[in-house]
Symmetry: C2
DNA sequence: CGATTTTTTGAATCATATCAACGTACGTGG
DNA sequence: CCACGTACGTTGATATGATTCAAAAAATCG
């Protein structure tokens, strides 16, 4: 049940059987139906989710009710409102399921305990967040550097799996443009 | 000479004298004159810099020669091309000094050794990068959510110290807009 | 199959970029 | 310390690209 998650850790820091079991003892499992929330703005973001199966999105909602997707998550990815998770402040993002999903859930307290008592878990966490940071910097750079058309191309190339799984208007939101604009960009590309 | 850096670590994870000394033994010190490069695109990004004094910028250059600032760094901040630093791939960013600066420099190998042998250094690193990740996510969100005017206001409010220290065209670059546009935005704001 | 959501398309509008000129500040060498 | 040259900031006119609003077409779901 927790294998994908444990294997993911194991890839980065080799675990003994004992460590595997110890980590397992902190984990819980959760199923989410399509459209269900994992987190809502204003909640206490007490949990961190590792996706075993399914697909989720993390987004903010602006004053006019516009949705802005900051992250997608599919199998093997981790999601949470990290700011809320670490500070205890109210969540400023929403997270919900785009497909029926299965999650490995870690609560704040368990996370702290694992970080404090399982050095390899801390190492895993550090590597994980470092990778996420680098990816985000790249994304930021592509937003400020590239034309919309190049941005879209880069996205489909970098994440063909996301591109297939999420509806087009969500991808538009993730890329920071209007659905109508993305539609036109796609036509321009296909006409070449 | 390394006090600011060691105190910064100490704030997050309390260090014994022994640990302080051990960390010190890995550090080197470097002065940079205004306009000098710390890193150039294509270099091996072997080093990570903690700014003791001065101000630097990290930026990429696009095909048309346009400069895009991804990060500023002043006293107490850390800079590097993290992707290159961790993977050994060639740097894709440039980093240079905007003022005469003094840096605490850590090379890749020292970093690895400290991570492996000083648990508190790893903890510090994890906390540090987590904070950087959260800040960047917020920045990304503000880019896709806010109007340019709001973005500029948010920036001046969040980083008044950066705002004072860097020339306006660099701030424009950081915010992802043209110098001429920033000038107009400032006028609009001041006319209110 | 019908109902709802998503995507496409068109036309008008708006915001920002671009290009160019001017004024000002800045630092650098004489 | 002044004068010159270069870099920086401002402003105007114009061009460009994305948004907005609305409606129709297509796809998806129950």
């Amino acid at each position: 049940m927790y294998d994908l998650f444990l294997n993911k850790i194991n890839e980065k820091v080799h675990l003994t059987n004992e460590e595997r079991e110890k980590i397992k003892s902190y984990l819980t499992f959760k199923k989410l139906r399509k459209n269900q929330y994992f987190l809502q703005e204003g909640d206490d973001a007490k949990y961190l989710a590792f996706v075993e199966k399914g697909a989720l999105r993390q987004y903010s909602v602006d004053d006019e009710g516009g949705v802005h997707i900051v992250q997608f998550a599919i199998e093997g990815w981790t999601v949470s409102d990290l700011y809320g998770f670490f500070t205890g402040e109210k969540a400023s993002y929403n997270i919900d399921a785009i497909e029926d999903s299965e999650l490995v859930v870690i609560d704040r307290q368990s996370n702290e305990e694992m970080l404090a008592t399982i050095p390899k878990y801390e190492t895993y966490t550090r590597l994980q967040i470092t990778g996420a940071y680098i990816a985000m910097q790249k994304r930021l750079n592509s937003i400020t550097t590239l034309s919309l058309e190049e941005r879209y191309k880069e996205f489909t190339k970098a994440y063909p799996n996301l591109h297939e799984r999420f509806p087009q208007h969500m991808i538009a939101s993730y890329l920071g443009l209007q659905p109508a604009t993305l539609s036109r960009i796609r036509r321009r590309i296909s006409e070449k």
